[in-house]
Symmetry: C2
Subunit: 305 residues, 2 copies
Amino acid sequence: MVGAVRDLSLRGGKRLRAALVVAGFRTANPNADLEPAVDAGVALELLHTYFLIHDDWMDGDTVRRGGPAVHTQLSRRFRSRELGAASGILAGDFAAAMAVDALSRVELVPARAMAVLNCFGQMQMDAVLGQQLDVIGSGKNVETTYQLKTGSYTVRGPLRLGALLANASPRILTALDRFAMPVGVAFQLRDDLLGAFGDPEATGKPLGSDLRSGKRTVLLTTALRRARGRDHRLLKSVVGTPRASDAKIRAAIGVLERSGAKAAVEARIADLVTSAEVALRAGRIPADASALLRGAAHALTERGT
Amino acid sequence: MVGAVRDLSLRGGKRLRAALVVAGFRTANPNADLEPAVDAGVALELLHTYFLIHDDWMDGDTVRRGGPAVHTQLSRRFRSRELGAASGILAGDFAAAMAVDALSRVELVPARAMAVLNCFGQMQMDAVLGQQLDVIGSGKNVETTYQLKTGSYTVRGPLRLGALLANASPRILTALDRFAMPVGVAFQLRDDLLGAFGDPEATGKPLGSDLRSGKRTVLLTTALRRARGRDHRLLKSVVGTPRASDAKIRAAIGVLERSGAKAAVEARIADLVTSAEVALRAGRIPADASALLRGAAHALTERGT
């Protein structure tokens, strides 16, 4: 079980959250030694391992980072689906416990320790609430799910944690929050576009998997609201239909574009990135840090289709 | 999902770990205001809610603290076993995140914050490792499982956390560790005896449930080693046999006693409690604190059959 946690953690991944901890740290202190930020990045990567393991089991995904999902690997190892599920959940739990342990070893200003821990707990709560909304279907509040899962957990939390480690002022913390929330939502919107229009080879997701699983993305709900007549019926017929043919899926992807939903989501992403950049100016973030954060915002929201 | 976490947390339970945090705190400082210990007790009770929720799902238990287990309650609520399981795991995850959040709000000496967090992370890791050994069957190392699940997680961790909150000296911390480990193992041995010989009405566990589920308790492995001939065959025939008749179960319980296993476990409990008391004297724990801890040891290991 512990080996499966190690394998998944070291098998790759974008190390997005760890990079954002460093960006937050650098924003608050351009010169300090990066070691505390790197160590806290380890804690966040372990926390992320935990969520990936539990999410994959919930979503029934069997592949992660180019290898077997943890519950899949453990089901084989124990030759039992039940033992694989139980040990998989425990593998996630173990990664979460190791994340706390890793956090407890970060060198920091003692007076900031409890604020760092509070930030970590908040990220954990938001990610769980976001996943719960995902699991039960969040209805019309898709952007709430995005704010919890990627806004808070993926972008705001890591930036804030890094800034706290560098003993940031309240002004910097507020500016980073205002920058992070729109970037996190835009990141998720880009992910939705990639899920629908991206090359399956490059994204690692099979063609139309979001449509087939019936995932309520902003892209889909916008298209359902805009499409009329035959287009609307066509789109509805593939949503949540795992066995829809590739031809029908391609036609439905055409509707996502034709209805104007794709363009609307692209426009929303551009708006969100603009408000993130406004937050940097309003917060009087120094030029070097501002360039770093703008770069991060573009990397997160302009990933190629 | 959040409501289910609240219901289970407030439905009762012995609040054992919270009481031990207070005992550890009092040992290190007889006069300080108890509030930090009480707040940390809240964090540990939430952590315990988390483990109970995940354990109940793994063990297929449907009742907890006189009400439905969380995954059972949520399966009913969502009218789906799958959604109930996924939301149940997330309910546990949410309780764990709230535990971190609660811990981040405890008032403490800043210089001790990271040691407190480290202790919390260690408890979490040990409990998960103990549960994993339980799930896959720990073979001959039953006492290792006990040391992880009750030694470290139930007794040592809470005492240590309380002591750290009261800024305990290294001498006090070492003495508490040496006191706690034997008490934790003895607590679990008593639990095994209650599981086999306790009144089902009082313990809330059905007659012979440990035998029927095939749980590898020290009591059982001792009896299997000692019993001969027909007694040995009789005992083996009910272990891991959920449908064994009550008559057969009663006969097997007779073997647990007749083989001398019950007496051997009672003797082991007495030995462990003695070494715990020796640790208090060797650590020169002051008389008042020593009396409190001896009382705790007896309460934990002498619960009536």
